[in-house]
């Protein structure tokens, strides 16, 4: 890497960190239990707005996985999410009225909290509709993975976003609080992903899946990015650049092998397409607070009127991580 380029990236990273400190000033503490965090705890960071219905299962899922502390930023929910979370013994909650878009889609807030609490911890940064799956997750807790990553001197772990959808029209089956969303949205696309390398940040740019297939069929270049690096052994000098798609310093983005081998990786099961989706899409379209001038939500809006079915004959029904491994969506790498 040329010195000038290194310097530029370094400047960018520092700018992101400073920006996080500035934007983070809008955070108001609702429940601060961060004193409970002890050395070696695995932390989960999450931004949300009006996700009450998803939270019970979300917390249960990640508690069982072995996350010890949850740090939530609530972007002015009015459905009781904030009250629900602040009553949980392992959650710390911050509240903000600031705009989602103007805080880099929540990343400024998350980065602010990470500067303060994440240093030296393994950190999982996910949305309330994302469920992390890693090799052997049915038999080994998350700390087995992080211990192994520590032993292998690996600092970041990739988990591609895998869009899950129901069979039949979206919203045909109502989602109850506490229910496993995969009972409804249990289908996914196994092999229609496109990959490109991003020269500047050295990360892979993955697109495809049902969202490209249905919503962006005629403008594939605008389909949402699916590459994510949600699990990172945090250092206060790190910063996510765009959502959790990529980080700086960019060495953390090298989660893929370039010599033909496979590194270990997981999957984020993205359960966006439940019955809550239409209402959410309407709201987000009105708020215009999403990435790329809410391009994604405009596309949803147009398509949703036709009550589309994401399911097709070749959709794959989710069974477990081994299935995803065999299909080549994730890999055990050399973890055995």
């Amino acid at each position: 890497m040329r010195i000038a380029e290194r310097y530029r990236l370094r400047t960018e990273r520092r700018r992101l960190l400073l920006r996080a400190l500035r934007k983070g000033a809008s955070l108001r503490t609702v429940a601060d239990r961060t004193r409970k965090i002890t050395q070696g705890d695995i932390l989960l960071f999450c931004t949300l707005r009006n996700e009450q219905v998803r939270l019970p299962y979300f917390l249960e899922y990640y508690r069982q996985m072995g996350v010890q502390h949850f740090l939530f930023v609530d972007n002015d929910s009015d459905d009781g999410s904030r009250e629900y979370l602040s009553a949980q013994p392992d959650c710390s909650v911050w509240h903000t009225l600031a705009g989602y878009k103007r805080s880099r889609f929540g990343m400024d807030w998350i980065t602010r909290l990470q500067i303060a609490y994440a240093h030296g911890h393994w950190c999982l940064t996910v949305d309330p509709d994302e469920f992390f799956v890693y090799p052997f997750c049915d038999a080994r807790p998350l700390s087995a993975l992080t211990d192994w990553l520590d032993d292998s001197s690996i600092k970041s772990f990739s988990a591609m976003l895998l869009d899950m959808y129901p069979k039949g029209p979206i919203g045909a089956q109502p989602y109850r609080p506490g229910q496993d969303p995969l009972e409804i949205a249990s289908w996914f696309d196994a092999g229609n992903y496109t990959i490109e390398r991003n020269g500047k940040y050295a990360n892979l740019w993955i697109q495809g899946g049902p969202r490209m297939r249905i919503f962006f069929a005629d403008q594939p270049q605008n389909a949402p990015a699916l590459n994510k690096i949600p699990l990172v052994k945090w250092d206060r000098a790190y910063a996510y650049v765009s959502s959790t798609h990529m980080l700086l310093p960019r060495g953390l983005n090298l989660v893929y092998d370039e010599w033909g081998g496979e590194k270990a990786s997981g999957v984020l099961l993205h359960t966006k397409f439940l019955d809550t989706f239409s209402a959410k899409a309407e709201e987000e379209l009105a708020r215009r607070q999403h990435y790329g001038a809410s391009r994604e939500y405009i596309a949803y809006h147009h398509m949703l009127k036709e009550r589309p079915e994401l399911w097709c004959k070749w959709s794959e029904k989710y069974i477990n991580w081994r299935q995803l491994e065999i299909l080549g969506l994730m890999s055990k790498g050399n973890w055995a």
């Binding site: 196994a190 092999g191 892979l204 069929a217 033909g260 081998g261």
Partner: protein, 566 residues
């Protein structure tokens, strides 16, 4: 008579404590060396907890840096202590805090009692094994390594480079042949005493102090000098990955560990509750009096190394994205590409799928949407036929198609009208079988007729595109199995080339084609070409096609399918 345990610990002291109790209950004296890096309070706590266990002693603490001398020094101190204090010890077993005995201690004692003079120590000369990581095999014995590999990699590498440049070589002490092997050994009292009381020990120690990773070579080399009988294998089941760090066993490995029949396994994840419970408290454990047989575990771990270093050919995903030409195969399975066949034969796809049993697609790279077999819009993996998505990433489309349908050979049609972005990818792919009838693109133009100016322009364009494609196929980078016929040659005698193409696919053992595809009516095609020539557009890719129908018997009447039988 018993065995003595030397245990090196640095983390997970609570687990080490359990194991120490287990050894001690089996009647083995244990000398523990605890890394000096462990905080004093923790260490004192650990000592106190073990104060009620008989036969446990603590050796002077050394600072143990990975790859440095400290570990050997610690082992020496602990061994000296053990030999001095326990005269009844016949074998000394070196273990770590994360080692776990898998079989009852008494079985190990009996096993070693039956082999009183044998030293179980893996030791091989550097020239003969490819174990090492980082390219330092013989050099670890001839260079100096004052810098830590883990903490100060840059200085480590720079100093190695410097020594290489000035051709620095250390002298290996006389009589010593460097050997390497697993750090975890089991030596007989006699051999170990000889090693520790060697009059030249100070010479050896001074030498090994600057060798890289001496814990893998100090005892291994000296045992070769002093031992009567070296059994070059470790009794500790310990597998290493491609970077030289040990594999870790988890709860889900429990059954594998039980069936391995090994005496001791390393390394166990400290939080693997079920494994520890199973082997330390179950009285029966895995009680077969057999030789260790870690075959199955070996296979699992060597597969993991394979996956990490070579991966699954043909797969592109978030954690496998090989650079161009670094992959081991662009695709994972063989496939066939046909250019010019659908133009020349009626319902060629149907015939091909009948003859070979393969999945035969139409023109998947266009023009227009991909024509998948059976006119499906989506196929395996929910890959769609949409032209926009295909042309957005044509190479991904090709690799996805192949990956999604792995296990079933794919055939598809290609033409100068198709997206040419994958031409190089296919030409360079050893899995591709590309068969081209050059010039056949002119047949549809001839059939549709219409505005001749338009046809002429289109013919010129297609000829240029196909010519480029043929140049690609002829390039020295092309690795696919490629066959090109001019249309004139092919029409002359279609059976033979078709047979050779089918033979190469070789799915069904067809000796002879029993049925030929029906060729389109080419009456007037020669004149059509002549017309193009007259317009100043020379179609040269189809070979010498006779301009006048009477000149050639081939195109006088539609050819009948025929059959050759022996």
């Amino acid at each position: 008579m018993t065995i003595g345990i030397v245990m090196l610990v640095h983390t997970a002291l609570d687990r080490a404590e359990l194991v120490v109790r287990h050894w001690s209950a089996g009647g083995c004296p244990v000398v523990i060396h605890c890394d000096r890096k462990v905080p004093k309070r923790e260490y004192e706590d650990f000592r106190n907890k073990l104060s009620d266990v008989p036969g446990v002693a603590f050796a002077t603490r050394h600072r143990c840096e990975w790859g440095a001398w400290g570990i050997v020094a610690a082992t020496q101190t602990a061994c000296e202590m053990l030999l001095a204090e326990h005269a009844d010890v016949q074998h000394i077993y070196l273990t770590s805090g994360s080692c776990l005995p898998l079989r009852p201690v008494q079985e190990l004692i009996d096993y070693l009692a039956a082999r009183p003079r044998t030293d179980f120590i893996e030791s091989a000369t550097t020239a003969d094994v490819p174990w090492t990581v980082g390219g330092l095999d013989a050099e670890r014995f001839t260079l100096r390594f004052p810098f830590s590999w883990k903490k100060n990699r840059r200085a480590f590498d720079a100093y190695v480079r410097l020594q290489r440049r000035i051709r620095f070589r250390r002298r290996i002490p006389f009589g010593l042949v460097p050997h390497m092997g697993s750090q975890w050994w089991c030596l007989s009292r006699r051999t170990l005493e000889k090693i520790l009381n060697d009059p030249r020990r100070s010479v050896y120690d001074r030498y090994f102090r600057k060798v890289w990773i001496p814990d893998e070579s100090y005892f291994q080399s000296l045992a070769r000098i002093h031992s009567i009988q070296v059994e070059s294998r470790s009794l500790t089941l310990s597998k290493f990955d491609f970077q030289g760090k040990p594999y870790i066993f988890y709860d889900d490995h429990l059954q594998l560990l039980r069936r391995s029949d090994c005496f001791v396994a390393r390394k166990i994840w400290p939080k693997a509750e079920r494994v520890y419970r199973a082997f330390l408290t179950d009285a029966e454990g895995a009680m077969n009096r057999t030789e260790p047989n870690p075959g199955k575990i070996d296979r699992i771990f060597s597969k993991a190394v394979e996956r990490r270093t070579r991966g699954r050919p043909g797969l592109y995903m978030q954690s496998r994205y090989p650079n161009d030409g670094w992959e081991n195969g662009l695709t994972g399975a063989k496939y066939s590409v046909f250019q010019g066949f659908t133009e020349l034969f009626v319902e060629f796809e149907l015939w091909l799928s009948r003859t070979t049993g393969c999945r035969v697609h139409g023109h998947i790279f266009g023009p227009g949407n991909a024509q998948f077999a059976n006119e499906q819009f989506e196929i395996n993996g929910a890959l769609t036929a949409s032209a926009a998505m295909r042309d957005y990433a044509p190479r991904d489309f090709l690799t996805n198609l192949n990956w999604n349908t792995r296990g079933e050979r794919q055939c598809f049609q290609y033409s100068p009208r198709a997206n040419q972005a994958v031409a190089w990818d296919m030409a360079k792919d050893t899995n591709a079988q590309i068969s081209v009838i050059s010039g056949a693109w002119a047949v549809p133009l001839f059939q549709t007729g219409g505005d001749f100016v338009e046809i002429r322009r289109e013919a010129a364009r297609l000829q240029k595109v196909e010519n480029e494609f043929l140049a690609t196929l002829r390039s020295s980078y092309a690795k696919a199995r490629i066959k090109v016929w001019t249309m004139a040659d092919f029409v002359e005698n279609p059976a033979e080339p078709l047979q050779s193409v089918i033979d190469e696919i070789g799915s069904r053992s067809v000796r002879r084609l029993s049925e030929m595809p029906k060729m389109v009516d080419l009456t007037g095609f020669g004149e059509f070409l002549q017309n193009l020539k007259n317009q100043g557009m020379h179609p040269y890719l189809m070979g010498d096609f006779p301009a006048h129908p009477m000149a050639s018997p081939v195109i006088e009447k539609p050819r009948k399918p025929y059959l050759i039988q022996k």
